[in-house]
Amino acid sequence: MNSVGTNIQRQEAWDKVTGRAKYTDDDQITGTLHAKILTSPHAHAEIRSVDIRAASKVPGVKAILTGKDCAILCGDVIEDRPPLAAGKVRYFGEPVALVVAVSEREAMEAANRIAVKYKPLPVVASPSEAILGDAPLVHENLKKYKKAVQDVYPEPDTNIADRIKIRKGDMAKGWQESDVTVEASFQLPKSDHIAMETRAARAEIHPDGQVIITASSQAPFSVKKLLSKSFQLEEGKVTVKTPLVGGGFGGKVPVILEALAYLASKAVDGQAVRIANTREEDMVSAPGRLGLEAKIKLGATKDGYLKAAEMTYLVDTGAYTDIGPRLAKAIAVDCTGPYRIENVWCDAVCVYTNHPYATSFRGFGHTSYTFCVERALDQLAAALGTDPLELRMKNAIIPGDTTPTQVKVTSSSTGNLTACFERLGALIGWKEGARIDLGNGIVRAKGVSGFWKTSNSPTDAISGVLLTFNSDGSINLNSGVVECGPGMKTTLAQILAEKMKMDVSRIHVKLEVDTQVCPEHWKTVASLTTFMAGRAPLKAAEDLIEQVKSIAAVALKCPTEDLEVAEEKVFLKQDPTTYLEFKDLVHGYQYPGGESVGGQIMGRGSHIMSQLTTLDHETGRGKSGPAWAVGAQAVEVEFDTKDFSYRLVRAATVMDAGKVLNPKTSRGLITGGMSMGLGLGSREAFVYDGSGRVENTSLRTYKVLHIGEEPQYLVDFMETPQVDAPYGARGIAEDGIIGIPAALANALSTAARTELNQLPVTPESIWNAKTGGKL
């Protein structure tokens, strides 16, 4: 009876095709008040005055809060962000005031009547401007801010929130051994997650001080801890509930609306208050994807062996850090891409600007640096006169090599990248040529990219599972993992069913997270759920099996070591016809005379990350995550040399998944990531006016990929087991996105015969690159 490796349908599938699936804002509870934010119309301005008199008179208004009413600072890494702006606003869309009213309509009307007087300030419009000596400061008080973690190093009186340094090998030696060097600069814009469900939260405070939050969150346990810390609440009195989440992609990790909902409820004597973002608020008021500027210099021997890499990455974290320093760290940790380079110098700098702030986004920084490295590799291949795929295979990381943070890799920790490149070449038909002229000014071109990704969790992140038996022998699985799309709870059920050797349909998964009853799962992020949360049910199953055997040993009058468990039975190994069914054991065993022993059997399993370290501040040495997922990707385009338009033809990913737990789900996660990557590569970017205001704040002006625009998808998996992961499975949920913008830009650079080092690549940007913008 195998569950692992088979196409198990997600547990909540039928709820999702009947409208029965409930998300945070689907519970329409009578009597709930509504909150609405007023946001900043400026990217950087001093708040001279806030007049709420007219707004207070709007019928239905219950309370109005401004920055003065909540003088605290929040942040996961650096505590720099007020829930409502106080003194000044630092980005277009920053919440300035919060109105609570009987209806949403009244709340909106009142918000519109709040009169705020601003004095515009000079705007810091890019990370490279931000680090100039005379740049205006986004945070004048940076040196006074509290650090929420030890390992972050803000540079006072600058816009630099953190700097992560990688110093590996000997740069002078690396350059000396290099016959060929290339240098290039890259620019990647900020963009947005566009989860289809906008962020929403509800809060109420009971008279005894219990705080109940319901939130569309990937990190309900962070909500609990951060609210407890920010508002001095007893942690046990804060309960956070998360039903199904309508897409996260990293955007629902930060704690934003939860704090506003709490403040709103507090202002109305603890009554229930809901707050839900409009799409426009969700795009710019809430945090989005990082921007990046980078300079890359690579050196290689004339045979094409990489010898040196010097890289400067400026991470545009926007107006607040949120998780920005960790994004910079993630970039530093894997800065070279999955290649063997002995001599590496890298500075990853987290920089404040007056852009909407950044948070985690699928790929956690990897998509951004991968674009720069992989574009540089293509330029190096051209300089060497070698084949781009061959260059990558020659330098692909293999067991025994070390990473930029000097971790020696093994087959278990990094799989088989070379095999991925080989398979990719066959899949995309690399040998037929990277650029084929189809006539009529149309060319067909291919580009490739490698990728790798490890995680950047705290070194002590935890995840647990509780199992209870029903009297019919089926099992309830309770974990703190959020179901935001990737089907993680179904994966946990598969892992448990496999271990218990029982049918997966007999595992009942609690989909909603309730922090009061669910064991903690750090955060549903970092493609770590299979690894972290997946190890917990294995331990919990062992706990169950041991208990089942010890009761059965009494009942069957045999030693426990003679017993085996499968198909909801416990039986004698030497005589499987002697058995007891789970249903006769798991709520206690009853002797024929009625006497009973045992009781309900419950299993527990808990996992804590091990062997991880923080990075050495001077060299970056250290271990950030347990393993790497690796893979190779390609994009094929049809390019019109007359007007620079192009069509996506095929896109391919070959990834070492360790073990494919669920083939259809795995393919869907990879192609979903690829689709998002093609969006980033071809169109997605915030556009600003001259004053730093985002101009494309709706899905009409900020376009994502629609059906009919997608290429044909080719996906294949290698299976080199990650020995310490459940059934050898690596995390894969983010990875489909990572190399796609790079592969697309490589294909288009080949097609257009020009270096395209900015994203997104549009016909206009190609025209600009080719002509310098001259008509």
């Binding site: 349908q9 909540e12 599938a13 039928w14 709820d15 999702k16 095709v17 009947t18 409208g19 029965r20 699936a21 409930k22 998300y23 804002d25 689907d26 329409q28 997650h193 566009i194 989860a195 289809m196 469900e197 906008t198 199904l244 989440v245 309508g246 897409g247 996260g248 992609f249 839900a276 409009t278 799409r279 935001c484 799309g485 990737p486 089907g487 259809k664 789900t665 869907g668 996660l669 192609t671 979903g672 690829m674 689709s675 998002m676 709706s698 899905l699 009409r700 994502v704 990929l705 629609h706 059906i707 009919g708 997608e710 998808y713």
Partner: protein, 158 residues
């Protein structure tokens, strides 16, 4: 001509049932369905007609319920995802992994179902035109394409 002035009670035909609702003239059908009838399958993904998550059928045609006033729906037959009773597209979405987070799913189901009723033999280009009204951010559309192809071009489709 039908008029709504101030707060009014009106009757709608939703999922083959007559339902009385209290509305303001400016209420959208999406809000009435969600807040008064508890039919939360239609989702407020953008409330600007760009994402299609709020799609319902009005007299069998897909309509973005965020762009229709409730008052305009009087006298018309409204079908929401909750009113699909074992429509083939539902099983097709389940069997083809046509969704991940599920938030856009109701809207896609309604467009696909209407397409299969109105153009049961729709060519690919027509199918794409119809489905371009909606956005899915989790899948690559490959799965949705597979699901809708199951219900198109089959002569015994209802």
């Amino acid at each position: 001509m039908f008029q709504v002035i101030g707060k009014s009670v009106i009757s709608l035909e939703v999922n083959e049932e007559k339902r009385d609702v209290t509305i303001e003239p400016s209420d959208t059908l999406l809000h009435t369905l969600r807040e008064q009838l508890g039919l939360t399958g239609a989702k407020p993904g953008c409330e600007n007609g760009d994402c299609g998550a709020c799609t319902v059928l009005v007299d069998g045609w897909p309509i973005k319920s965020c762009l229709m006033l409730t008052a305009e729906a009087v006298g018309h037959r409204i079908t929401t995802v909750e009113g699909l009773k074992n429509a083939p597209i539902q099983a097709a979405f389940v069997e083809n992994w046509g969704f991940q987070c599920g938030y856009c799913t109701s809207g896609f189901l309604m467009v696909c179902h209407a397409l299969s009723q109105i153009h049961p033999d729709a060519e690919e280009i027509v199918m794409e035109e119809w489905l371009q009204a909606n956005i899915c951010r989790c899948t690559s559309y490959e799965e949705i394409r597979n699901a809708v192809n199951v219900i198109l071009h089959c002569s015994d489709s209802p």
